[in-house]
Subunit: 253 residues, 2 copies
Amino acid sequence: MQRCKVSSVIQQTQGRRARLRAQTTAEIKATALRLMSEGGTDAISLRAIAREMDMSASAVYSYFATRDELITTLINDVYSELVDRVEAARDACPADDPAARLQAWWRALRDWALAEPDGFRLVYGDPVAGYVTPVGGPAPRPSKRACLGLVELVAAAWPQAAPRQPPVEFSWSDFTPELADEIRRHLPDVSPGAVALAFRVWGRMYGLIGLEIYGHLRPSLPDPGALYEAELRDLVVSLGLVPPGQADGAAGH
Amino acid sequence: MQRCKVSSVIQQTQGRRARLRAQTTAEIKATALRLMSEGGTDAISLRAIAREMDMSASAVYSYFATRDELITTLINDVYSELVDRVEAARDACPADDPAARLQAWWRALRDWALAEPDGFRLVYGDPVAGYVTPVGGPAPRPSKRACLGLVELVAAAWPQAAPRQPPVEFSWSDFTPELADEIRRHLPDVSPGAVALAFRVWGRMYGLIGLEIYGHLRPSLPDPGALYEAELRDLVVSLGLVPPGQADGAAGH
DNA sequence: AACGTTTTCCGAACGGCGTTCAGTTTTCAC
DNA sequence: GTGAAAACTGAACGCCGTTCGGAAAACGTT
């Protein structure tokens, strides 16, 4: 009885301590993101965070061993939220309309990038001065999720897309064993060519967004949205999901 | 006579002073680029440059009003050299082979990006911590050169490419007046649709390079070169410069 | 050849940064 | 209640960009 009570108290107090710790950790991350939204990624500094939270700078080291560890955590959080969002946009489209699902995915990505350009920098660019990315990448889990999601989308188009692809052959040995295993486990019916195509699609759409975010489009093109839509349109046509020259049912944007 | 001599002496000494100044300026820039190649863009600091040159940090301010001004100059230099390079690669191909010229341009860009990833970050990404880009962009001249060169390349393919484009109409009013005037002055025969297509092509190829440079490809794809070649191949096919499914004469890479 | 001005350069300083460390306070388990 | 572990503080170190007063050199003019 006593033992039980004690143990429950222990659990309770441990729970309390852990809860406080989790709470402070969350506050640190939230403060960091707020500072970023107010002053860009460079505004994320341990000292500024500590100042905002009325604590000393060195106290933050009880929660993150180093600034880069905090940045890595932020990248993971932001990236995960991004993947949640594009997946939600994709799943809002009917499962039997692969063109709509693909376009929704990429529209959601651009919308997010425009809404939170600093988040985009954090995830896809050079995050912050002097940050060195850990081995295996800063955010392996969300990036794997994004990769699988995109491969799945492209794979759905593969039957129509395959004959339209350039005669460049790909095999599983072109990819790292980790990726090949991952894909074959989750998406056993996908071919290496579809994976390669997914990466090419990724580059295509990421490129326009990156140019826009990094300011290479605006000086010439006041509204890159139309350009993005054209590329999106060309994309689904090139994948054979939509006949050329016709409006596709997934417009409505 | 005497007047003439005096004036010549003046010119000489003025020339000497200016020469010394230009020399020191060049040394500062060279040192900055060396530091960047050794330690990344974050290694570019006025203090480090001064240290390397055996002078005080404040002395650098006689040559650049601020660190950002130095960065801006570096961006211009690096960008200009990049444009020189891609233009040279393009011009090494016969004028009557637009597919080869286009592919040479983009191959040269990727080769340069891989050889000098920090230069790529400087020109196309977030250059350096806390750097605020001046109004009108950090490097309007080289970026205008790159834009015109690319538009010219795409315009050469426009007759074949136009019917293959998605039915998204563009007009000169979609672009800033500066760009529209610039293009109509230098390339009077180019249509707005061709310009839009040029930007889309830019995004396409920039995207793959950016993903590779920022480390989003390597963890999954040991050799993104094949992917890039496939995209390049698909590009010239989609522009109607090469019939699909056949090897094009511009391979040899 | 000498004078006054402009340019160049130095050294110290300010506030910011990440990080470390010795020491203190608080919290927790027993 | 006591000892250990965790959280926290304040000072310090070396880095950064930038400013400022003053010294040194180079320069144009007389």
